[in-house]
Assembly symmetry: C2
Homo-oligomer: 299 residues x 2
């Protein structure tokens, strides 16, 4: 009915075809699905992977297929890992109360909540002078309130080393005392990759060249399925910048990364990615600002 069902059993969400999160925990072996009448066909045989025009012929019911890269985070367990976990009784029956240390395949979900920093002083040039405005501080407090109200157990809070992200995170952190916190340069603002369609705000090639590798490094470092050692679901807050978040969302969903420009994020918005233990990724929401009254929504 509420968050608890989403985060717990997840059967309702599954029934609606949303392929959500926690279901995987209850049925991480394939055995639960073999009873279905229709099994998943082999894509290589079934679909032409070379059709790529978005407005291709849809009326024949065959999509312009692009196969999901399962090992996108290079953490796909190998057969030896699976055997190891089987011996420990994990994969066969994840509901069994067993000592899970030492399993070789992931079993927990990672929920990554990306918060865009709030409204800041754009008049200055130096980063340290581009702090939050009073409105920005108010927005940050409203984010903190909303996250607190959701009742999700925040595991860690990471912010970019830029002033506006740090100040936003400071205010959010006051709602989550005791939660470990860290900063990283990887999440600093930047131009991830030259956008498509091209932006009128075109940047010098060397900007995309250097920022792009750094933001790609942020993606590869922070966004991946849980480690096998992670025993429970994590809820991780990342306070950073619009283009970084938009790029990460495209990469995580295996959508074309140059498409980041087609997404938009308001200040103080919440973007929620869930990474399931089998490597599936779900975007739960993008740019949610319902926690802000209409006159405090800025971009």
């Amino acid at each position: 009915m509420a968050w608890s069902s989403r985060l717990g059993v997840g059967v309702i969400a599954f029934a609606s075809g949303a392929a959500v999160t926690a279901f995987v925990k209850a049925a991480s072996s394939d055995s639960g699905f073999t009873r279905r009448t229709f099994s998943v066909p082999d894509h290589k045989f079934f679909h032409s992977s070379e059709r790529s025009t978005p407005t291709g012929d849809f009326s024949n019911g065959i999509p312009p297929y692009k196969v999901w890269e399962k090992d996108w985070d290079r953490r796909e367990p190998c057969a030896a890992d699976r055997r190891k976990s089987l011996r420990r009784g994990i994969a066969e029956d994840p509901t069994r109360e067993v000592k899970r240390e030492g399993t070789a395949i992931p079993t927990a979900n990672r929920h990554l909540l990306f918060i865009r920093h709030s409204h800041f002083n754009r008049k200055e040039k130096k980063d340290e002078e581009r702090g939050l405005t009073p409105l920005g501080r108010e927005q940050a407090a409203l984010i903190g309130q909303r996250l607190k109200a959701l009742g999700i157990p925040i595991t860690v809070l990471v912010d970019s080393t830029m002033t506006r992200a740090k100040e936003t995170a400071d205010i959010i952190a006051s709602f989550f005392l005791g939660v470990p916190r860290s900063q990283t340069d990887l999440l600093r603002k930047g131009a991830p990759v030259s956008p498509e369609p091209p932006s009128r705000n075109w940047k010098q090639p060397q900007i995309y060249f250097s920022d792009g590798a750094r933001i790609e490094a942020a993606f590869r470092t922070l966004v991946h399925r849980a480690n096998p050692e992670q025993l429970t679901d994590s809820y991780e807050l990342y306070v950073c910048h619009s283009k970084v978040i938009r790029y990460i969302v495209c990469r995580a969903l295996q959508f074309p990364p140059e498409g980041w420009i087609r997404l938009s994020l308001f200040h103080g918005s919440i973007t929620w990615l869930t990474i399931q233990p089998d490597g599936r990724v779900i975007l739960q929401c993008l740019g949610d600002v319902g926690h802000l009254p209409f006159d405090k929504v800025t971009s």
Copy 2:
């Protein structure tokens, strides 16, 4: 600072690289951009369009490019249209107070707000018995309140002909008396295209075959840039179903349509697409449920 700036001048949003909406109205000719130092390079020459692995070599700064299809809605004005509009003084200076009837190129934005119906009775089989639960009615009222509070001038309200969408729309409509309303079968629930990665909830091929064409028809009929005759921005509400919205978002953003399964929508969530007069598309938010208290969020 607030919605007004986003919907009005839009210069702040543009400065942040979000390539938003109304800026286009102020500079729909190319002349405003030729003063920039860096012009947009020719993609065919500059990028290899055949690189498509999402985890390709990013460190060289060249993305795995897929060019934006400009004429995705088959409404790209031809040279003759542009000349016609130029003669009428539209494209040259859109701020001039001229009689705009008869212009041949679009000048208005379309804001399409897709609302997923709210919580409903899943225990019954027949559509007419699968109406909203008391919680669903409460959610619908909260959506209406939020949309009303945003102060956006809703132009039209369209809902799918299924009971749960109709009942959600009924409640929202009570906040927008006098707004024209209609229903369409095109927006009924369905399986748009076989998902990738494959769903555990696999459907019969004939379901994707027939639903797919119908939902694609919904996309092609409803989602396109404004007609040239449209003089002001429109804000259109569509109350329908999760998979329909997720598919439309992928198609509109020119992301792989089979990726709809990577998106998720809560009941009563708001998804906002903006279609600019030049055919660019921006996803302002996806699945926003900040207007619902934490104990009323369901999926």
